[in-house]
């Protein structure tokens, strides 16, 4: 789910307000945006790239490696299936408030086709100095500098703060992976950790989690096996617990999900857990020496 500068990007929903705003920024930063999709604007040009009726129509004319969805929630399932049909290998789903059954549907279709989904409800992915896909402030030099720390974050705003703190600590980022804030995700924290563990540019990893769900606990199981150092911040120590999802919710989470449970699972796996994001940079520097 890392995206590097050579990869070609299709923007579904390119002509919308957010789609064109962020496409211009992606292009200015160096992202290889090669085309866009809007069924009503096929044949036109937007942000200097051709617009197609669908991802499948785009695939007939040009090659792309990644597609990113700037699409309203209830239209995302169809847009994602279009991208999967077009043999897209990586699909970045930024949209928040996609119905869970639609997410489950598009993830099942993607898994079968070998397409990696990042999101939904992600702010995107960044390779500082090369490219970004989504709506991260990659172009802000105080927030993003090239370096050797892989950052995995559920939240875009908190991920931004963590990257800023890394720059202040004299560090930079090899890859930022926003996995997204939805309960059901195409890329888990564990999936992203496996990829950063294998990534030759990454020397250490910062995990940025939050209360709820079990993705941090699952990632801890993999972190235990890693040689690269891992530090984490988990937001929500001072937050009231979220809503309870019947007896069934209690059965499947089985005591996981709280700040205490996540901190305990991560520490048991040898991951240092920072009390505030500002402490992460110093901890990672110490771990790498």
């Amino acid at each position: 789910m890392i995206v590097r500068g050579h990869e070609r990007v299709l923007v579904q929903g390119i002509t919308g307000r957010q789609g064109s705003f962020w496409t211009e920024r992606m292009l200015a930063y160096g992202t290889r945006v090669v085309g866009g999709v809007n069924p009503k604007r096929a044949g036109e040009t937007c942000c200097g790239v051709p617009v197609f009726a669908s991802a499948t129509a785009a695939a007939a004319e040009l090659a792309f490696d990644v597609s990113v969805l700037f699409i309203p929630p209830l239209a995302c399932k169809a847009a994602a299936l279009d991208a999967i049909e077009a043999d897209c290998r990586k699909l970045v789903v930024l949209t928040e408030h996609i119905p869970l059954q639609d997410t489950a549907y598009l993830l099942a279709a993607a898994r079968e086709a070998g397409c990696r989904v990042i999101g939904p409800n992600t702010a995107g992915v960044v390779t500082p100095g090369e490219c970004f896909v989504g709506f991260m402030p990659a172009f802000n030099a105080r927030v993003f500098q090239p370096g050797t720390i892989g950052v995995i974050s559920r939240s875009g705003s908190l991920g931004t703060l963590v990257c800023l703190e890394l720059v202040r600590a004299g560090l930079g980022v090899s890859a930022f992976v926003g996995i997204g804030g939805d309960p059901i995700l195409g890329t888990s924290m564990r999936d992203a950790l496996v990829e950063l563990d294998r990534d030759p540019r990454t020397a250490a990893v910062a995990l940025v989690g939050e209360i709820g769900g079990t993705t941090e606990e699952e990632a801890a199981g993999y972190a235990r096996t890693m040689r690269k150092p891992v530090a984490a911040f988990v937001a929500g120590a001072a937050s009231p617990p979220g809503r309870r999802m019947g007896h069934a919710g209690a059965i499947v989470t089985d005591g996981r999900g709280s700040h205490a449970a996540k901190k305990a699972a991560l520490e048991a796996a040898g991951v240092v857990v920072a009390p505030t994001p500002a402490a992460l940079g110093g901890m990672l520097t110490a771990l790498m020496h």
């Binding site: 059954q101 489950a104 939240s155 705003s157 931004t160 001072a238 009231p240 007896h247 499947v252």
Partner: protein, 374 residues
Amino acid sequence: MNFEEHVGKFLLAAAGIEVPDGEVATSAETAAGIAARLGPCVVKAQVAAGGRGKAGGIRTADGAEAARAAANALLGASIGGHPVERVLVERRVATARELYAAILMDAESEGPLILVSARGGMEVEEIAGRHPDALIRFPLDVRKGIEAPEIAVRLADGSIWGLQHQMSDVLARLYQVFVRNDAELLEVNPLALTVDSRLVALDCKLVLDDAAIPRRPELAALGTPEPKAPLEAQAAGHGLKFIELDGNVGVLANGAGLTMTTMDAIRHYGGAPANFLEIGGEAYRLAKPALEIVLANPRTRSLVVNFCGAFARTDVMTEGVVEAWQQLRPGVPVFFSIHGTGEDEAIALVRERLGIEPFDLMDDAVKAAVEAAT
């Protein structure tokens, strides 16, 4: 979105799952009339809250007078913060065993997950913890759905006392209800095995996926809103999620992750947050009403404004804050930290229009706010 039991049971009955004969009453008089028709019955407070049985919200009644008394006691009472406005009066079912069946959207299997247990009832999660074998769980592919015979095969090895065919039929119907109504959770606990060997849904908990409300307007109209404090209700009117807390340091940040982190930092530096308020996603344009709500909380003694813009443009958010600040002229001190998309314009706005110098570090803004509040 949550629903009262009778709404869920209506959907179950329409899908061919047996529920007890019963009716909803809004007065003790009506409840007595229903009980006169049904005979021995159960009077159940209709609130979309857990722990209803333990809170005394479910009463048995042997006739019209007892049902009248039970309804009188329940109507107007409050359970789990919900006022009881209706009771469901149902014919009592002669139960041999209490089973459990549920379907929920599961993060780990990335789709619907069926849970079945031969040991249902109020303590089902503890029983599942102590006796993992008593719980059968299997994930489904939401693209394909599932039919009863296939479920029967998957239940064949499970310890459900030879009920796999009856149970499979109930589960296939439950799954239809789950999918057709965009449920996040559909739970029947207990699912009664009657003395004459029928399966009857004695309760039903339905949770509609909030993201699906726009395409399920008829169902959503029957839902129960969460009980809210006045400021929480005011925030909800703007589409903002606001939670009042016990502390005195107000928080305005963008995105749930950064908001929680700001609260954590307040706690870390010895203070206590006065609120949670999320203005993530498109809501970043609502900084002005958001600030009004934070300042309306009488406990707020100081305020941290912490923006880290990715999608959310900090210049747009800050403009809303500055506008509201100049209109409201609040007496509390405010401490800013602003970074990310649009930060130069945002910082210039705070300097020029409020004469305040934002902090570079969130931690410093938080420390100053904690100090000002004590």
